[in-house]
Amino acid sequence: MIQTEKTLTGQLPFFTKGGASTKSKEKQEKAKTQTQSAAKTEEGCGSELNLPFGIIGFKEFKKAEIVFSEEELPFLRLREPGEEGLEFLVMEPYGMIPNYTLEIGDEDLRDLNIESQKDVHLLNIVTVHGDQRSRVTVNLIAPIVINKKTLQAKQVIVSNFHKYTAKYLLHENESTE
């Protein structure tokens, strides 16, 4: 069983290779050409994931790309290819969720051919509720677990799910009343 615990230190997405995080314009230009093959319409470059099991409730969500733009960070988008592709807002929990110690079962690790903790990368699905208080919640029970080496991914229900909620409140606007 692999346990991952991230402390409150910021960390850029592992797939940011020369993406929106670079400072100078020159660097950005260089980065653009380097990532041309994976470049998408937004500023950030894409990493394409394979999800052989789809995700819960969306068994056909099997191929998705990670796209981001500077102004949306720390949020990223997980998007199916094509015009009508499904899209989810996701984020890395590191530095954003205190005390997030999740346990991933061996079966799930085997499904993704994960051999060591350092091959694991996590993305949690974010919901923007679009209500009056602009609530934003994140699913801590079922992160998308990614094998960094193979870019295979799966939405996994953590073994210690009792500890967490699928609607962790990340943000809401103060009441104006």
């Binding site: 530095g95 699905i125 602009s134 939405q155 799910f161």
Partner: protein
């Protein structure tokens, strides 16, 4: 929903390839322990957990029309209230 009664150690077979077996019945707590044997591609979850995730996933889908337009706004608010993010 098909309703069957099984005693301890008895099983049911679903779709010729999935077996659900009662392996323990705890009279005191009313808890029944089940063993499920199924091909790898068949996902198995406790219903309440599955429902919570399924609902969350359905609600999370970004609607093309609204396109989660307030994301930059929220991202900004988040950055302001949290420890610094990123290496810049």
């Amino acid at each position: 929903m098909l309703i069957l009664s099984r005693k301890n150690k008895e099983s049911i077979i679903i779709d010729d390839r999935i077996e659900v077996k009662v392996v323990e019945i705890d009279g005191a707590t009313g808890t029944v322990k089940l063993a499920v044997k199924a091909p790898k591609e068949v996902s198995i979850h406790r219903k309440e957990v599955f429902d919570a995730i399924n609902t969350a996933n359905q609600e999370a889908v970004v609607k093309k029309k609204s396109g989660a337009g307030q994301v930059p706004e929220v991202a900004k608010a988040l950055k302001e209230t949290r420890a610094p993010f990123g290496g810049e």
